[in-house]
């Protein structure tokens, strides 16, 4: 089998910071024509730098210092820049993570694709137009002849990624490099795009280098897998080998740290620490410090490649012939550690949300007259008991975050009621609300935007305490003296509780990694002893191993402090691991609500079914999503009449177009809104 792309001992250095960073440090791989090769790894492992090195599109600070990259026998590193331009787009196409940022907003889609065609195929004007239409039809853009002359902002996220793929395909490349192609997309859209990539690959016999951090996407797409860690590949195997018998401790620990339903009662296995800085010279195994099976000589001897099976190679001392007896069975004892039993407390009603609605007015014209409403949240009701977790699941734009913010009164709801311990929050006075604020707090998605870069950790944590203290001291000024801990001690305790050393309190947020920042954000929320935490996608910006740390932290906080969570997420695996109840949202309304087992095992609403089947499964055998939804989420400014879901629903009936279904009661705790099931007679 002659390889299409061969990389040998590629070394790429980034000149940033004090010492040069070896972003890619001796990577060798080969991709056969028509093969899907997945490069898997956490952020900062050098995956994207490998891709950019192949395209020779490194940032100014980057430099390829050694190695060869051959495509069909041509050494790319010896080509002049003009020669490289005939390779890019023609032989190697590339799609990027952010479809919103990779299309030029002031050019139509057709103009952007035409640039590629002009460069590589020298087509006449009409032939080019014809080809653009074909390409767009090819990637499943409806009404391509008309839509090709539209601008990127008129396309939805999934459509933009399709257009990006069409552009990458325009030069009919032999190799497509897909750098996290679906990370920015919703699961239902992700399923569409992955399906499209599979079809195209089959039709064009094109090789794909798929770069991702998502094991699910790898399981669904790849034929061969390479795991990258700290600038080098540590394991290379066929898909089945990798998912059945992961060899490298890093791969094993990655699998172990994935949340799922089976691990509900246990803490997730955590890969301690972070990816080491690539600025240093390594003398041993790069993973040794985080490895749970490290041997003494792992720290001072660099491991070599060892073959464990057919085409299954691993860079680990455990597989050296002489140390075979050290090998433990994967799934080590660390995993079975269970969490302490929860405090037995009678669950009481904490939060009651009833018919909550948030409408944003659309104003047009000179006089800013209200011409319509964006119904971000449109009549949502649910309850949360003390110490329980309700997960709110849905695609982006369905109003999950708006619900979270309107419960905290960060956005004023249009109508409805939010009662916290039987205290109505919507009509409450500002002063009274401030006193209540300590009892419900929020954790945000982006750990980089949620801490003020100009304040030190001490000041960040102190702020909430002070704001609380102002209101509390007015009420309980007598209580104040009796031996309260000093502020510094309180802050030290908080940091300890979220697993950070107390010394960090004098540092600024930019000195921390994403996971550490998220811990600080959690500590800030905990500073005021809340009873309810609204977690707005707290782990979606984090790597799998860091996600496990944060999920463990949240779970142990719930057990120890009896916190209730409103967990807003689109990650079904996290929901299965953490939630007691699930509410599935579609376009501002809850379409299905029930106990976790009921909804996950026996989804009733077609949207829930589609959502669950769109999630890539990490299983030994490749499974492709059974039910792929067509189209995108409609605009909440003009929701479809009747059931909002009917234009995308595979089971739509005439009645679905006419009226919104009432609640159908499946069981005591399980309700759904769908005409397929008998409905309650009165609303």
């Amino acid at each position: 089998m002659s390889a299409l792309l061969e990389i040998e001992q590629l070394k790429t250095v980034l000149y940033t910071g004090d010492a040069p960073v070896r972003a890619v440090d001796g990577v060798s791989l080969a991709i056969a024509p028509g093969e899907t090769f997945a490069l898997l790894g956490e952020s900062g492992c050098g995956k994207s730098m490998t891709a950019l090195s192949i395209m020779r599109l490194l940032p100014d600070a980057g430099e390829i210092v050694a190695g060869t990259i051959r495509i069909g026998g041509i050494d790319l590193l010896r080509l002049p820049e003009t020669g490289m331009r005939t390779i890019r787009g023609k032989r190697i196409g590339m799609i990027f993570q952010e479809p919103m940022l990779s299309l030029n907003p002031v050019m139509t889609i057709a103009e952007q694709i035409e640039e590629v065609l002009k460069r590589h195929l020298h087509l006449s004007k009409t032939a080019a137009q014809q080809r653009i239409r074909e390409l767009l039809e090819h990637v499943g853009i409806p009404d391509a002849a008309h839509r090709m002359h539209e601008y990127p902002f008129q396309f939805s996220g999934g459509m933009k990624q399709r257009a990006m793929i069409a552009m990458a395909l325009a030069g009919e490349p032999e190799l497509l490099i897909a750098d996290e192609p679906t990370t920015a997309l919703d699961v239902t859209i992700q399923a569409q795009v992955l399906e499209l990539m599979r079809q195209i690959q089959k039709r064009n016999h094109m090789a794909i280098l798929l770069i991702t951090h998502d094991l699910g996407v790898v399981a669904e797409m790849a034929q061969r897998v390479a795991v990258m860690y700290a600038g080098e590949i540590v394991e290379m195997a066929s898909r089945d080998d990798f998912f059945n018998r992961p060899a490298h401790p890093y791969s094993q620990q990655l699998f172990a740290s994935l949340p799922n339903k089976q691990k509900r009662d246990r803490a997730l296995a955590v890969i301690q620490g972070n990816v080491p800085s690539l600025a240093q010279q390594f003398t041993g195994c790069r993973f040794a410090d985080r490895c749970n099976q490290a041997l003494p000589h792992c720290r001072d001897t660099i491991p070599q490649w060892h073959t464990t099976g057919d085409n299954h190679q691993v860079r680990c001392h455990l597989f050296a012939p002489e140390s075979a007896n050290h090998r433990q069975t994967p799934r080590t004892s660390q995993l079975s550690e269970t969490l302490p039993a929860s405090r037995v407390a009678e669950p009481a009603m904490l939060l009651q949300v009833n018919e909550l609605a948030v409408h944003f007015p659309i104003r047009t014209g000179l006089l800013k007259r209200v011409t319509g409403h964006v119904k971000a949240v449109d009549g949502v009701s649910f309850n949360i008991s003390t110490g329980k977790t309700l997960a709110l699941v849905g695609e982006s734009g369905c109003g999950k975050t708006t619900i979270g913010k309107s419960i905290l009164q960060l956005i004023r709801p249009t109508h409805g009621s939010v009662r916290f311990r039987n205290q109505e929050l919507i009509t409450i006075q500002r002063g009274q609300l401030r006193q209540l604020r300590s009892q419900f707090q929020i954790i945000f998605q982006d750990p980089y935007a949620s801490l003020n870069p100009r304040m030190r950790i001490f000041e960040i944590l102190e702020e909430g305490m002070n704001a609380l203290h102002d209101s509390r001291s007015r009420n309980l000024s007598a209580h104040h003296q009796d031996g309260e801990l000093s502020k510094t001690q309180q802050i030290d305790m908080l940091l300890q509780r979220v697993g950070l050393p107390a010394e960090v309190k004098w540092r600024f947020p930019h000195e921390f990694s994403g996971g550490q920042r998220q811990r600080i954000a959690i500590a800030r929320a905990l500073a005021v002893n809340p009873e309810l935490l609204v977690c707005d996608e707290p782990t979606s910006a984090l790597d799998v191993s860091v996600q496990a740390q944060i999920l463990n932290l949240l779970k142990s906080l719930q057990k120890n402090l009896g916190l209730a969570f409103l967990f807003i997420t689109h990650n079904i695996a996290v929901v299965e691991y953490l939630a007691d109840e699930v509410a599935v949202m579609y376009l501002g309304r809850i379409v299905e609500h029930g106990h976790i087992d009921e909804v996950m095992n026996n989804p009733k609403h077609p949207y829930t079914q589609a959502l669950l089947s769109s999630v890539p499964k990490i299983t030994a055998e490749p499974v492709h999503a059974g039910m792929i939804l067509k189209g995108d989420l409609p605009s909440p400014a003009a929701p479809p009449t009747g059931c909002h879901f009917h234009p995308r629903c595979p089971k739509a009936m005439p009645v679905c177009r006419e009226k919104y279904p009432l609640a159908s009661i499946i069981s005591n705790t399980h309700t759904t809104h769908c005409h397929l099931y008998p409905q309650e007679q009165h609303s």
Partner: protein
Amino acid sequence: MPVSPIILWTDALIYLFVIAVLLLIGHVRRHEHLLASWRRVGHSASGMSALTLLLFFLTTGLLDTVHFRPALDHTTEDGRPIYSVEVLSVLDILVTPIRIQVEKTYSAPLAAHLYAKETFELPDGTPVRDFARLQYGGAHLQDPAAERIPDIVSRGGTGILYGLLIWCSLAAGLTGWLSHRHRQSYRNTLIDIRRRTTEMPWYAVLLTLLTLLPLIGAVAMLAPHYHVLGTDKVGQDILYQSLKSIRVALVIGTLTSFIMLPFALLLGIMAGYFRGWVDDVIQYLYTTLNSIPSVLLIAAAVMMMQVYIETHPDIFETVASRADLRLLFLCIILGITSWTGLCRLLRGETMKLRELEYIQAAHAFGVSHWRIITRHILPNVMHIVLIATVMDFSGLVLAEAVLSYVGVGVDPSMISFGTMINAARLEMAREPMVWWALLAAFGFMFTLVLSANLFADAVQNALDPRNRTHKQRTRTFSRTKTTAAASGDKTSQPS
């Protein structure tokens, strides 16, 4: 000499400003983390050498701010001294020779003769038309044609030598202080400075001083006997005018900014933070203000002021206090018209910031609006304020020149870069050209504005926590570029 101290309006404001800066420094010194970030300002070589230059300007400006009226020789009947109506500053006293040595009209830099021919009588009574000898410039020379150049060289040389001597003693003192502070041998400290391995870039500071001190020395030696930068139409020394202009430029640049800042900060942040009708009102206000040509507005305001001054001559004791009030008024009116740009910038930035999650988190804690504005928003827009202020500084110095040309700038009796340029502008078309006045004003203004810009740049880089890593990166990159290129060559070799 008995004097009667006078504090003009702008003097008072400058003193206030200095006190505010001193208090700020004290506050920073008491707080270790603030001190740490300000120390990083000291790590920038260009920033420190700009600061050295700025200190020279600031010293000149401050010396020119201490005003008083000297006593006249005669006294009143009951023995009390009578004070002159002329208001002098400490700077005026220091540079007395060039202040009082006024020629008849133009003379070139370091010249001994006037720039234009004129008819005068020789001692024997015969009228001649020739370049007349200057009254003061080179007056000590018997035969200017032969003696002038050697005299300039020897005096200039002596000055440079004095400058170098002062520099050497400064450098020695600095090294001594450093070696005492770091408990290091004198020799090693010297080597450290030479190799630029000290924490502060003393090398850059010393280099700047090495240029500046001999220059000042030479000028100081030459000034009593020559007009180093020539004279203007009425024979006043250009060097004197340039030195006097520094204060006006600093006053216009700083006071205007500080008058403008409260408007811009308060209104801009309020508009961006509260949105709604507050935003509408503020936007309406600055859009309206912006659509009136500011020169008209300033002209109208200054005219009104002038009328007021002229109708109430009794409230001004001296010419200086009248000119000063006009300067202050100019600052105020410039400040009122120039806040709109910064306000708009701040509104946009605040609108971006208020949606950020840390502000939302603060809301979730019930932190008051005032605290959110002062603790979260203000520190995060400070870099914009700093940049805008410095940009405005140069713009304002230039605006003053334009306004003085239109006739609505500073009082004609007040020396400023604007009036200097305005006067020089008319002579540019003259044959032979009078270039020195313009060049002097340009040179001083350029140095002042450039060093202010460089210093602000260093401050911004040091204070912005997000910027710090970036700065390091660029520096390291440029250093390693050569090695990168070398290793790049290696790649192309067959492996």
